[in-house]
Amino acid sequence: MKKMKLIIFILALISLVWSWNKYLVVEKKYLKERKKWEKFKVLAKEAVKLMKKNSILKSKREKVKGVLTGIQKIISQLNLSSKLLSVKVTENTKISDYQLEVASLKMSGLSLNQFINFFYRLEFGKMPLFLKSVHVSLNQNKSFDLESEIKLVKEK
């Protein structure tokens, strides 16, 4: 009888230790997962934001061979060949899944209308061209001189 009592007590104690240990392990795992979940939510929100922002690339789907081809296409469409002083490729690199080409462009004597049309084509056109830097000055003849760096981003 005494032995039985002792066995029951030891069994109860063992079961308590076992379940307590199990609970602690699960709780630790769960809390770790909860923390991860909180981080995951933040990351997911950030990802959605970035995806939205980057969706612009998806909308610029027109295929372009190179940055020079793209710029020249815009210039010829707007009849700005006479205003073009120079255009040359300055950078050509691969960044992860993308091919990046940068060209510097100089134009002078642009009217306000030509200036707006040029930038409109760049910003809202279907070619994946982006403005990296720009320098616009209003000259004596009330026309615009433009120096800019334009980049082409292509998926490999």
Binding site: L13, S19, V26, L50, L100, F119, K132
Partner: protein
């Protein structure tokens, strides 16, 4: 219920058989049963035992006094002379009889070996019953020395139940069973019982606690699994084209890195929308912007304004829209002001 708690159980031996008397708190006999009844021990934790006449030995002694305390103190020495064994091995009680012999009081002493009583106490302990008192109610029958002869006659009859009830109501006999060695076994038994109960309750509590913890951990485990599913679901919604999902958290981090790189690549200067915004703040009639230099996140404007007031107005209009800084402003002889402003986007 309360009355049941106050009920008393009296045990005795009759013709070698154990008999149980159940008395109510008021001393009324409720039942009487023998050991072969299945409910004989049911619900009994404490009881009284009445020693039958057959187990007792008698001796009549004479004392010059009748006070019970006095008699009790000298009785062991008186008994010692005719007992075979040591007096400590006996238990006794006595009745002062009505008769007097030459100014001496006659005292009827009833005694029995202590081991007999111990046997009884042990037997009751084995049945988990604590004997609260051991009496010999039949001692009430003895009033004078002549009773001694009558009582042991086969024709003598008496109402035993009545005697028990009387003993119960106003106890007159007590075979010194409250002596240390016997009462301590009571306490030991009681202590043992309490310890047993405590041990069982503790074991039960431990089991309950472990069960509670087990179910709680199961619940947590389920919540953990749900959370993991949640990761997958969100990830699938974000990247539906992806088929192989092993660790959504780390896969999302990798995607984020890629998205950030993409974002860096796609950073753009939106010249038209910027100029549209700025022109709504710029006092067009009072001056002009002559140079605009822009790179990602920063635009520098250089221009001329008619007066300091106009520049102040321009600044005021920009406040809240852009983070800006006047880098340079120069008042010319004609009152016009040339300025350079950096605007962070």
């Amino acid at each position: 219920m309360v009355s049941r708690i106050l009920d008393k159980y009296y045990f005795t031996l009759q013709d070698g058989k154990l008999i149980r008397y159940h008395f109510s708190w008021s001393g009324r006999l409720k039942s009487k049963m023998t050991e072969d009844n299945p409910n004989f021990w049911k619900g009994i934790k404490k009881a009284l035992f009445d020693i039958p006449l057959s187990l007792l030995n008698f001796r009549v002694l004479e004392f010059p006094f009748f006070q019970r305390e006095k008699i009790r103190s000298v009785l062991p020495f008186e008994l010692e002379s005719f007992l075979v064994d040591e007096v400590d091995n006996y238990l006794f009680d006595f009745v002062v009889l009505d008769d007097k012999v030459e100014d001496n009081y006659q005292v009827l002493v009833a005694y029995l070996p202590k081991r007999e009583v111990e046997k009884i106490v042990d037997f009751f302990s084995s049945q988990k019953v604590i004997l609260k008192r051991i009496t010999a109610s039949t001692l009430r029958l003895f009033k004078s020395s002549s009773d001694l002869e009558n009582i042991f006659q086969p024709s003598f009859s008496y109402d035993y139940e009545k005697l028990l009830a009387r003993e119960l109501k106003s106890p007159q006999t007590d075979f010194s069973f409250k002596k240390k060695e016997l009462s301590s076994s009571d306490w030991r038994e009681r202590g043992k019982n309490i310890f047993n109960k405590f041990a069982y309750s503790l074991s039960f509590l431990l089991f309950l606690l472990s069960l509670y913890l087990y179910f709680k951990s199961q619940k947590l485990n389920q919540a953990f699994k749900r959370e993991k599913e949640g990761f997958k679901l969100v990830y699938q919604k974000l990247f539906p084209q992806e088929k192989r999902i092993i660790s959504p958290y780390y896969q999302l981090q990798a995607h984020l890195k890629q998205l950030k790189e993409e974002g860096e690549l796609l950073k753009n200067i939106e010249v038209l929308s910027f100029l549209k915004d700025v022109s709504s703040s710029f006092p067009v009639k009072e001056g002009k912007i002559t140079i605009m230099e822009g790179k990602v996140g920063e635009v520098i404007l250089k221009g001329v304004l008619a007066s300091t007031k106009a520049l102040n107005r321009f600044e005021k209009n920009l406040t809240g829209k852009y983070d800006y800084q006047i880098q340079e402003s120069k008042l010319m002889a004609d009152g016009k002001i040339h300025f350079t402003m950096r605007i962070n986007r």
